[in-house]
Symmetry: C2
């Protein structure tokens, strides 16, 4: 059965998935630029590294047929769309190559990009969006892309099946937390491994 | 030079050093009973395990000449001492065997126990208490025993030199956080290793 998965969600040792003051120049907030260094060093993300970090990075794309993401992950624009010039962080040929559902209360027409990616801007309940994503994925899994607030939303509804969290040996000091005051009784840690760059933790819904 | 060190400070994956509702029946709060299971399984803490977990546990006692701890770590009593019947969690022969400085705003006479442990109840500023502890330690290091609030206090003043944090693959959901909104620019992670029970992280003050 197709499931909802989270991958490569990286947090600092003090628990932040993003620093303060996210914006155009700092998509992940101040000080968070290095958070994903472990990933960009891997072959699957454009670097040269192979092995554990790379395997985890690649896993995030395997058997994924659609993506859901929060609006802040799509871009730095907040509130109403002033116009339709913002087309995502990823250029004209985004690396998704499938339907991407962007959660937002501000409607906007579908955005069809090169390479098979179409952004849908949806304001429905998380469950409804998930069902649309499953339909679009055609039997493959759906990836929940982030950011932290969106993952928290789906986690709290116990709709996430598997979550790969990466803890990097850095402190951000403040920002947006992934965990915290979130009941997680339905989940357990099933694997933990530390590489020279990061600690990978696999969280799964209890059977 | 003698330094202030933190050891075996264990937090859940979601960042809590203790669960909610600490008290006599649950010194570390609800749900936090298993937090230190990794440690009690080691030979140095009464179990049988040897290797990485055990080495870290043992490190916490090496070259320590005095201990500082928060009042909540000494016992479940809050506010004024109703009497002097509470003598710590550890029985008549506590495992310190040196001077222990208990931070509290409520004075109480020194408590001389068997085996060389004396509890001093002190309401001075953290720096003053630290100096007293260094004096008592006679050239050896001082251990900051916890809990989280006390460690945060000393961390924020950059008085901690080395801190061994242990992240266990569990969720508490709520409780007392170790990190969070604490500026940690002065510190860096110098080692991370994951065992079958826990992830050990060594944090040190930048040179």
């Amino acid at each position: 059965m197709a499931t909802l998965r989270v991958h490569n969600l990286t947090i600092s040792l003090d628990g932040y998935a993003a620093g303060p003051n996210q914006g155009l120049d700092a998509p992940l907030g101040q000080g968070a630029g290095e958070l994903h260094g472990w990933m960009f060093a891997t072959k699957s993300a454009g670097g040269t590294g192979v092995g554990t970090d790379d395997n985890f990075t690649r896993w995030g794309d395997e058997n994924i047929g659609a993506t859901i993401m929060g609006r802040n992950m799509f871009g730095p624009v907040r509130g109403e769309w002033p116009d339709e010039t913002w087309r995502g962080w990823w250029g004209e040929n985004p690396p998704f190559h499938h339907d991407v559902f962007v959660l937002t209360h501000h409607p906007r027409p579908d955005l069809r990009m090169e390479g098979g990616t179409t952004f849908h801007f949806v304001g429905d309940a998380p469950e409804v969006v998930l069902q649309r994503a499953f339909d679009a994925a055609g039997g493959r899994d759906v990836r929940l892309g982030g950011g932290a607030a969106t993952v928290r939303e789906y986690l709290s509804r116990e709709l996430v099946e598997v979550m790969h969290v990466v803890v990097v040996p850095q402190f951000l000091g403040s920002g947006e937390r992934l965990f915290g005051d979130l009941p997680l009784e339905a989940y357990e840690v099933v694997d933990t491994v530390t590489t020279s760059s990061a600690t990978h933790v696999v969280v799964a819904k209890k059977a």
